[in-house]
């Protein structure tokens, strides 16, 4: 007997099996979703050591003495888009935890939730205002004349600006998924941003709404981010660990503070539309951001498959700075994967710690005199609870 061209019987059998599996999955999923779930994010304990307006400085003390001997404090500056909680998303996959275990004295800026009163804050206010105050505080608090600075995404761009304007305060600069060259067609965001009327947008909204930006990010790949992602959830909703981690990511991704209006306006116009930063022609507070002033060692890490900050936007930096000690590292992942994927967790923090350790040997000991200066904090240090288990704080 001749075999039929289309195995209808096999297809039907698979369909029946699938229907049974779905039935079973829904039953298990219902037990999981109605039961106790641990979906807390940013659960590593920290201390708030400095506060200014909406901005807080989190301190994560090292939990062990690292082999690489990094003693210089490391300050992490996150972007104004989404929140720094991404670096401490889930147990076992926490950049913060990895740094602590590697013996790094870690500080992290929490930009908070800008409200309408923050709409006039410019990039200058963030870089030469808040960041400078935070870094001065750490320098005075720890006694180190220079500190290590690490920036993430837009926070990386801020760090580049800061390092160019205050090179005397920075020992090493680490940029991760950091856009500096905006004249590239590799990412859709770069193409779209050229057509955005930032003036009209900010005049209408005041601050740039986080939800609107998130909608824009979803539109970068709607097939994957709005359909496939949730199909994936439905396929795995009988797996408790998967559900917990999925909800953690959802919590983080939709916890989007608004971006202060004037900062957004300047970032779009000066960076995305005029590409002034990489040309060393950007101005903050009347001062030119000259990348040649970045003479400290620079480590530049980016993702091969990053759709928000493609390699073309990140890799040019090291060729434009004044430093002779630079290194580019391209990881085999995307924009967020660098910080959360299990694979890159094994590469990312160890690489940074090793790189810092190698440059720590030339480190100058803390100047004790600096420590005696009058401290900057507006508030007394306080022990903070692991934050945001109950979801985002209302924005307005």
């Amino acid at each position: 007997m001749e075999q039929p061209k289309i195995p209808v019987d096999t297809i039907l059998r698979h369909l029946a099996e699938d229907a049974e599996k779905v039935q079973d999955r829904v039953q298990k999923a219902s037990d999981i979703l109605l039961g106790q779930l641990d979906t807390s994010i940013a659960s590593t304990p920290y201390e708030i050591v400095y506060e200014e307006d909406r901005v807080k400085l989190k301190h994560y003390a090292p939990t062990s003495v690292g082999r690489d001997g990094v003693t210089t404090p490391l300050v992490v500056v996150y972007a104004l888009i989404n929140r720094e909680t991404m670096l401490d998303l889930q147990p076992g996959r926490s950049v913060v935890d990895s740094f602590q275990k590697a013996g790094v004295d870690l500080y992290m800026i929490d930009w908070g939730y800008p409200t309408r009163k923050d709409k006039f804050l410019t990039i200058d206010d963030h870089v030469n205002g808040y960041m400078d105050n935070v870094i001065d505080f750490i320098r005075q608090h720890t006694g180190f004349e220079k500190i290590n600075l690490m920036g993430i995404c837009m926070g990386g761009s801020f760090c580049v600006m800061y390092a160019a304007l205050h090179p005397e305060k920075i020992k090493n600069l680490i940029t991760t998924v950091c856009p500096t060259n905006f004249d590239t067609d590799q990412g859709l965001l770069h193409i779209w941003m050229r057509n955005i009327d930032a003036d009209r947008m900010i005049d209408a909204f005041g601050n740039m709404p986080g939800d609107m930006m998130n909608f824009g990010f979803l539109l970068l790949n709607p097939a994957r981010l709005m359909i496939d992602k949730y199909v994936g959830f439905l396929e795995n909703m009988d797996n408790k660990t998967f559900v917990e981690n999925f909800i953690r990511m959802e919590k983080w991704i939709f916890d989007s503070p608004d971006v202060p209006g004037e900062t957004f306006r300047q970032f779009v116009k000066d960076c995305y539309q005029k590409n002034l930063l990489i040309k060393s022609r950007m101005k903050l507070g009347g001062k030119r951001v000259n990348l040649k002033k970045i003479t400290m060692p620079v480590l530049n890490i980016y993702g091969q498959y990053d759709h928000l900050v493609p390699p073309g936007a990140a890799e040019v930096l090291t060729s434009k700075v004044g430093s002779t000690d630079t290194e580019d590292v391209c990881l085999d992942t995307g924009h967020i994967g660098i910080y959360v994927s299990g694979k890159t967790q094994k590469e990312f923090v160890p690489k940074i710690v090793k790189w810092l350790g190698e440059r720590e040997k030339n480190s100058t000991a803390p100047k004790t005199g600096i420590k005696d200066k009058k401290p900057v904090p507006k508030k007394a240090p306080q022990r903070a609870r692991p934050s945001r288990t109950a979801g985002p704080k209302p924005k307005r």
Binding site: K5, I6, P7, T10, I11, H14, L15, D18, R116, K117, K119, F120, L121, D125, G129, L188, I191, W192, N195, I196, D197, R200, M201, D203, A204, F205, G206, L219, L220, N221, P222, A223, R224, I227, D228, V231, K374
Partner: protein, 298 residues
């Protein structure tokens, strides 16, 4: 001509009789009325003062009407009035005529505008209706309907009315842009389903139809992703996205203007007022911080 003179004579006799009656009426009315009986019990000084003032005013008005009636009864004045009265029907006819003419002209203009809607649609042709419909709508709206919302308003509430009209105008413009944006977003779904059908036909012919239902989904999502990427890179999409955002922002700004108007009548600060305050605080804080830094350096 004779008929005209006849009308004049008729108006003349009627007017003379009416004038005579009116003259006598005003004269009799102007005579002083009964003295102060209505104000009995009031203080004497006040009573006298009130009586005098009221009576003086009344008598002066009556005398004025009486004089006017007498003047009108003069033969020359009567003649002039009679001639004027004969011209009344002509004046009325001309006034009504001009009002009707203006009304018909406006109506004609509206009809012409509505008629042009068809002309515009023709210019884009209906053979690509699904592609052009939103552009056609936008064009029709901009040329033929939007001007109605831009008609200058008059009177005390003109600014409020203009802001309301502006908001309605911007809202409609945004709706058209948004509809086109949604159409573009839907296109890849439509196309991916067609491509999937073609692919399945080919696989069926080759006898390589996937056995697992998930394989069909994966095939579709891959095609869909490819179509979206192609769409997103197109200048048409970038233009539509930009237009949608612009019209949305214009609408929000116009809407906020109305909200400002509404808030002004209730005892809460408006956004504009708060923004002014925030700006002042921002500059003050900056100054204080600079002073603090300068002081700590010293």
């Amino acid at each position: 001509m004779n008929q005209g003179k006849g009308h004049e004579a008729m108006y003349g006799s009627l007017l003379e009789a009416w004038m005579k009656t009116a003259d006598e009426f005003w004269k009799s009315t102007a005579l002083p009325g009964p003295s102060s009986s209505d104000t009995y019990g009031m203080p004497e000084g006040f009573q006298k003062k009130t009586d005098n003032k009221f009576q003086e005013s009344f008598e002066s008005t009556m005398k004025m009407w009486s004089t006017m009636s007498s003047v009108l009864r003069e033969p020359k004045a009567m003649d002039a009035v009679t001639k004027g009265a004969a011209a009344v029907p002509e004046i009325i006819t001309r006034t009504i005529g001009s009002v009707w003419e203006g009304y018909f002209r406006i109506q004609q203009q509206i009809m012409e505008k509505l008629g042009r809607i068809g002309e515009d649609t023709e210019a884009f042709k209906f053979d690509k209706l699904d592609e052009n419909i939103f552009r056609v709508c936008a064009d029709i709206y901009e040329k033929e309907l939007s001007p109605f919302f831009k008609v200058p308003q008059l009177g005390l509430t003109r600014f409020y009315q203009e802001r309301l009209d502006d908001t309605l105008d911007k809202y409609h413009t945004f709706q058209i842009s948004f509809a086109e944006f949604l159409r573009l977003l839907y296109l890849p779904i439509e196309k991916s389903v067609k491509v999937l059908q073609q692919k399945l036909e080919e696989l069926t012919k080759e006898g390589r139809l996937p056995e697992n239902s998930q394989d069909y989904y994966r095939m579709w999502i891959k095609i869909l992703e490819g179509h979206y990427m192609t769409l997103f890179k197109s200048p048409e999409y970038a233009e539509t996205l930009s237009e949608t955002l612009n019209t949305f922002e214009d609408y929000l700004s116009a809407r906020d203007q109305i909200l400002q108007d509404s808030l002004q009548s209730v005892p809460v600060p408006t956004t504009r007022e708060m923004d002014e305050l925030y700006r002042e605080i921002y500059h003050l804080k900056k100054k204080v911080r600079k002073l603090e830094k300068d002081q700590s350096k010293d």
